[in-house]
């Protein structure tokens, strides 16, 4: 445990001082990207890892927030109101999204979220009067909270870092809370939880809302980062990218999605500098990870670490607990 604490301390220090030792604006920007995608992955992990509900429509929700922010700004509202309205709209959308998707679990849940996500994509693409269609929406300015202008690269990085740390703390508290335990209970043994008097549906519903909140927060960071939003953001590939972050890092672990986000953003950034075939590589990585390392990189490495130090392998959760354990 102490090794873990030291490693986390070093990681925190490295992140907090990153603009001082990282040379070049480009790499600081990439780091900001990793951090807000990590928030997105943390949000999706609440569902995929802890609730055992795999969503393939989260990019749709991400897009709703981003478009809502952009549209409010275009109407001439200030940043605080735009962000607030975007959050409210996203939470309402998430509630509808969850109410429909939770009609089913397991594979059915994947299918419904996928269909909903694709419909939101189609809407962004076709509803030109609202979304600008393929041309997308542009944002002219970034906000200036407490007088710090987020147009500055370092300031934006620190704002993202603070929000990232808050999100991480929120997820850590959530996972350790009784509600988090109950959620994992509904993942592993929905029938028993039901028999014990837990309202399984409501627990899942609130987990969806929490996941949606983190998704929306990262979407607001995203839209201020790129200052542009187009239907591509809502495409199935975007949902798959985030899912890959969660799964490659290790679903159902606290730090896995963060490692996954770093990995996917880094690979994507490096690869797109050389070739245009990111989607092909994304698909190939997906197939490879699912076949070779289904538990994800962080649990996989942790397992090797424990093996190397002679401790017994306690085993970690699979990607999703859709399958019920034997009673």
């Amino acid at each position: 445990m102490s090794v873990r604490a030291i490693a986390l301390g070093i990681a925190f220090l490295a992140l907090a001082t990153l603009p001082y030792w990282m040379s070049g604006i480009y790499y600081i920007n990439v780091s900001s990207q990793i951090l807000f995608y990590a928030v997105f992955a943390l949000g999706l992990n609440v569902l995929v890892g802890y609730a055992g509900l795999v969503s393939l429509g989260h990019a749709g929700l991400f897009g709703v927030t981003a478009y809502a922010t952009g549209y409010m700004l275009q109407l001439g509202f200030g940043h605080p109101i735009a962000i607030l309205v975007a959050l409210v709209i996203s939470m309402i959308s998430m509630a509808v999204f969850a109410a429909l998707s939770l009609r089913s679990t397991g594979i059915g849940f994947i299918m419904i979220t996928l269909a909903l996500g694709e419909i939101l994509w189609g809407l962004a693409y076709r509803w030109i009067s609202l979304t600008g269609g393929d041309n997308g929406l542009s944002l002219k300015t970034r906000p200036e909270p407490f007088g710090y202008s987020l147009s500055d690269v370092n300031t934006f990085y620190y704002a993202t870092l603070i929000i990232f740390l808050l999100s991480l703390a929120a997820v850590a508290v959530f996972v350790r809370s009784p509600f988090g335990s109950a959620l994992m209970g509904t993942r592993d043994q929905p029938r028993r939880m039901n028999a014990l008097g837990y309202h399984v549906w409501a627990i899942r519903f609130f987990a969806c809302l929490f996941s949606g909140l983190l998704t929306s927060v990262s979407a607001i960071l995203f839209v201020y980062y790129t200052q542009f939003i187009s239907p591509q953001t809502l495409a199935l590939t975007s949902s798959a990218e985030v899912l890959l972050m969660v799964i490659s890092g290790g679903a159902g672990t606290l730090l896995g999605p963060i490692v996954g986000a770093g990995l996917v953003v880094a690979v994507k950034t490096v690869v797109s500098g050389f070739i245009e075939r990111w989607n092909f590589l994304l698909g190939a990585i997906f197939v490879a990870i699912v076949i070779l390392m289904p538990e994800g990189l962080v649990p996989g490495t942790a397992r090797l670490w424990r093996l190397a130090w002679g401790k017994r392998d306690r085993g970690t959760g699979a990607i999703a607990g859709g399958a019920e354990a034997k009673p």
């Binding site: 594979i107 994947i110 694709e118 419909i119 809407l123 076709r126 609202l130 989607n279 698909g283």
Partner: protein, 290 residues
């Protein structure tokens, strides 16, 4: 009045294509319990391979129907291979299988982009069906009527296959209760390959015969997959009748939606799905919630 009738014929035509696409999707789902996310890619691949034969390789052109047959067989073989080599490695792990089909669909989309480029390719209508059919004052493009006929023939053939043959009985047994089917000596895993190849072939066939109407372009897979999903959510999984009714409903809603509310065509699709999910989550003709 004429406009509405033409729109209705277009809707039925599109519904017919959707039926060819989603019948396989629904059967694969019914048997293997996974949504095959490569289904849109197989549709697109069928269209690309077919149009390559039609336009000719090195000046050697093929008849449209022969090209369609070849494309269907090629893609069916690809589907069987994907099932044998990849999905077979993860028996019972449905989530892993879904994710593999998702990864494959991205790879297929990028490969098509690499091979056939980013420009849309229009598929020539078979010359014998280029004209119009007249019914009194009403005029319809002959090719669209031909698609309706083809889809109807396929619907009947599939129904006969499932209801009247030994293979069909085995597939139905596998859909109903795979474990029990195994116990009575049906090699369910072999059925997986057969049904996967059948579904892939049907999707590819829909892709090439839909070509003269839809043309082929990158992103066609992403356009068709959600429609197949909505059809199956509406109609229920593993049910041929469900796919049929779902396809016709989606065909009508999509075409009328595009004509009347072009900006919201996708959103209008959402409404019947919402109703079905709220009132009958297993789908109109489904027997169990997926």
């Amino acid at each position: 009045m004429n406009l509405w009738l033409v729109l209705a014929v277009n809707s039925i035509t599109f519904g017919g294509l959707l039926f060819l696409l989603s019948a396989g999707f629904s059967l694969i789902f019914g048997l293997m319990r996974i949504p095959n996310l490569t289904h849109g890619s197989l549709f697109m691949l069928g269209a690309y391979v077919g149009v390559t034969f039609v336009l000719g390789i090195r000046g050697f052109q093929l008849n449209f129907w022969l090209a369609a047959l070849l494309a269907t067989l090629t893609v069916a073989a690809i589907g069987a291979l994907a099932e044998r080599l990849l999905l077979r490695r993860m028996p019972g792990d449905q989530l892993a299988q879904v994710l593999v089909t998702l990864g494959l669909s991205f790879m297929a989309a990028d490969l098509c982009l690499m091979i056939w480029g980013g420009d849309p390719i229009s598929v020539p209508t078979p010359p014998e069906l280029e004209g119009f059919a007249r019914f009194g004052v009403l005029v319809f493009p002959a090719y669209r009527l031909a698609i309706i006929v083809i889809a109807a023939v396929f619907a009947i053939a599939l129904w006969l296959l499932l209801e009247r043959t030994r293979l069909g009985a085995m597939i139905r047994a596998g859909v109903d209760d795979p474990n029990m089917a195994r116990v009575v000596g049906i090699r369910v895993s072999q059925l997986f390959t057969i049904v996967f190849a059948l579904g892939a072939g049907l999707a590819a066939f829909a892709g090439i015969i839909g070509g003269p109407i839809l043309s082929v372009y990158p992103g066609l897979d992403q356009d068709m997959l959600p429609l197949a999903l909505v059809v199956v959510i509406l109609g229920g999984t593993g049910s041929l009748l469900g796919s049929f009714v779902g396809s016709i409903i989606v065909g009508f809603i999509y075409n009328f939606g595009q004509a009347l509310l072009p900006e919201l065509a996708y959103f209008v699709l959402f409404l019947p799905m919402l109703l079905v999910l709220l009132l009958r989550p297993q789908g109109l003709f489904g027997r169990h919630v997926p």
